[in-house]
Symmetry: C2
Subunit: 139 residues, 2 copies
Amino acid sequence: MTKTTRSRSTRQKTAIIAALVEADQFCSAQNLHARLQGYGERVGLTTVYRCLQGLTETGELDAIVASDGRTLYARCGQGAGHHHHLICRQCGASKPVMAAAVESWCAHLATQHGFTEVTHSFEVFGICPQCSMPTAAAT
Amino acid sequence: MTKTTRSRSTRQKTAIIAALVEADQFCSAQNLHARLQGYGERVGLTTVYRCLQGLTETGELDAIVASDGRTLYARCGQGAGHHHHLICRQCGASKPVMAAAVESWCAHLATQHGFTEVTHSFEVFGICPQCSMPTAAAT
DNA sequence: ATATCTGCAAAGACTTTGCAACCTT
DNA sequence: AAGGTTGCAAAGTCTTTGCAGATAT
């Protein structure tokens, strides 16, 4: 088991990440696939699914499960470490946020109930300033 | 619009809630359907899906979306109001928890970024005391 | 009596898997 | 050359919808 099985750099992988960065919001695999086609990039839907999963496991992408069950992906910068998101329900834009208070609250709660191996899901949704400003949104 | 369109009380609806109470954990529609069959209750899978959705909209049930995209339901008591859950990843048992600190933190964060109509998803997962005690789990 | 509810079968949506050809290292 | 990678097609899951018969009020 000395094989490192490192990942290769391919046109598809590069395009997928680029499209996600360009989108600057949480996208589903299918949505991203459509965007790629829009950019003239020829990438199979299967490849999109596989790359997104792989990149998420590597920590290069963040994934959340939407309320309709679809998995959405975004790239918040790989060095960010553990964080959560403030997501606009309207335009999909997201801001990474650190929530030390929540983290410690979780740890405390878990300990209190004797739970171990604690993880948590936590995302905040709302309407961002741009989207909630009807006056200036007439473009 | 004077019609109230009130929901009817049926054998199926009753059985579904009973099964969910009996289970005392977050169940998927299919899982619940299987449990009902085990109890000898004849309820269609479609009905289970529809009832769970309806009861969730009424606030009689709580629903969460698991990381695999399935929707899970549980009954935590209708008078509970807004709350979150501490869920055992192993046995599925869940404890409702109030998280005032998290709520206010969310509100604060949202305000800070100018977001409105804020909502949030927040669930804590872990391994409960029973499940993490290998010594006594031999039954 | 009537509008809701139920359940079967079919359809729909998203995601995964099999496999041969392809491309990075 | 070797093995990860790609993409088409097919399969798999979970969930929703159409519709006719059954049921609660």
